[in-house]
């Protein structure tokens, strides 16, 4: 069969379309389209929430390091919490600017590439902001207690802090190793569950979309 036969089939489909209902233009008359949910809206609000969260971290961090300059570990904890807040805001800001730059009226390849890049960046953003909690909880808890009640968490924990750090490092490495193993061994279902839990999406999928676009451009 040749391309012309395919065209004939397409024309049959075209005739069937004539019988379909007209577009429901009412949607545009009563402004409901303005409120129509955009696929990217949850992502947008998620990043706004991340900015607020980052701001809270900065406030907490600044409050701790400025009030405990004489206690080295609290000063460092405050600085780490402050830095975490800045990183969270910067990453959310970059994600938001990538969302704002999307113009669906641009050529298909350009937009699909931008969407895949946005997705890959969002996933990395989630991994940095989320996975760092394996270790970040220590300076965070120390800062929180110092801010709330002036309690020195490190003094109370003493030798246990070393264990906390060790568990955090092992947990972080184990998460990375397990993810790597699931990816290598082709356990798609397991990988998807992990990705969904860790990042809300799949970095691998975003990368494969980018590869697909690259192949389409270069072939």
């Amino acid at each position: 069969m040749e391309f012309d036969d395919m065209k004939a089939a397409w024309q049959t489909l075209d005739r069937r379309l004539e019988q379909q209902h007209a577009l429901n233009l009412q949607l545009f008359r009563d402004s409901r389209a303005d409120k129509a949910r955009s696929e990217l809206r949850p992502l947008f609000w998620g990043q706004i929430a991340q900015i607020f969260f980052g701001l809270l971290m900065i406030l907490l961090g600044v409050s701790v390091w400025s009030n405990h300059r004489d206690v080295a570990h609290l000063l460092i904890s405050g600085v780490i919490v402050h830095a975490y807040g800045v990183v969270a805001i910067v990453l959310a800001g970059i994600t938001l600017s990538m969302i704002q730059r999307l113009d669906y009226a641009s050529p298909v390849l350009a937009i699909q590439k931008q969407l895949a890049q946005l997705r890959a960046f969002y996933i990395r953003n989630g991994m940095i902001v989320g996975l760092s909690w394996w270790l970040f909880w220590i300076p965070f808890v120390a800062s929180f207690f110092a801010w709330l009640a002036g309690v020195d968490f490190f003094e109370n924990m003493q030798g246990a802090i070393g264990w906390c750090i060790a568990v955090g490092v092992v947990g972080l490495l184990a998460t990375w190793g397990f993810h790597h193993w699931a990816q290598r061994s082709g356990r798609a279902r397991l990988l998807k569950v992990m990705d969904d839990n860790m990042t809300g999406s799949s970095l691998r999928k975003a990368q494969s979309i980018l590869d697909e676009i690259r192949r389409f451009e270069q072939d």
Binding site: M1, D5, Q20, L23, F28, A33, P107, A188
Partner: protein, 187 residues
């Protein structure tokens, strides 16, 4: 008092003008959409196979068209603009659907695939074979095939997809070769 009255009247006039402009924009959009509505349906039919999913996609495309309409330049082709948006929305919709249903196959899919491997005699079977061929294409090649079947010029296809005209010509000839070699079409 008088100044306040003038301000109120000015504000009211501005509001009326804005309302009229919005109304005429909606009417203009409605007209253009009505004229080119088949593009929306064709793109939706190409990227969504189940009726509910298709209806969702039609709404999604229409809403995105409306959102993007203020940025549409009347000096340029409406159909090119519409194809870009419709295809972008449809491809994203398909990718999101793939993510949601990574491990599920629509109930009618296996039956559908089985129906196309037999010989083609009736027009309906030919249509099914076309649909089956499209399903196995990646989203970008599917967009290319749709535009070729719609008899769009190389230039317009290049503009819609963001490729060079030469690249478009090469891809089309490869696609035609692939159609020739496709077993479901050749029995």
């Amino acid at each position: 008092m008088q100044t306040h009255g003038h301000n109120q009247a000015g504000k009211g006039m501005m509001q009326t003008m804005a309302f009229t402009a919005e109304k005429s924009r909606r009417e203009r959009f409605g007209e253009l959409l009505e004229q080119h509505r088949k593009i929306v349906f064709k793109v939706a039919n190409t990227y969504a196979r189940l009726a509910d999913d298709r209806a969702d996609l039609v709404q999604e495309i229409s809403a995105q068209l409306w959102r993007a309409f203020p940025g549409y330049d009347e000096a340029r082709s409406f159909s090119t603009w519409m194809y870009r948006i419709a295809l972008n929305v449809a491809i994203s919709h398909l990718r999101n659907a793939e993510r949601r249903d990574t491990h599920t196959l629509p109930l009618d899919e296996s039956a559908h695939e089985a129906a196309v491997v037999v010989g083609i005699a009736e027009p309906d079977e030919r249509v099914r074979a076309l649909e089956a061929f499209m399903v196995q294409l990646d989203p970008l090649n599917r967009a290319l095939l749709l535009l070729v079947l719609e008899e769009r010029s190389y230039r317009e296809i290049a503009e819609i997809l963001g490729l060079s005209e030469t690249n478009v010509a090469t891809r089309i000839s490869r696609l035609k070769q692939r159609i020739r070699n496709d077993t479901s079409f050749n029995g």
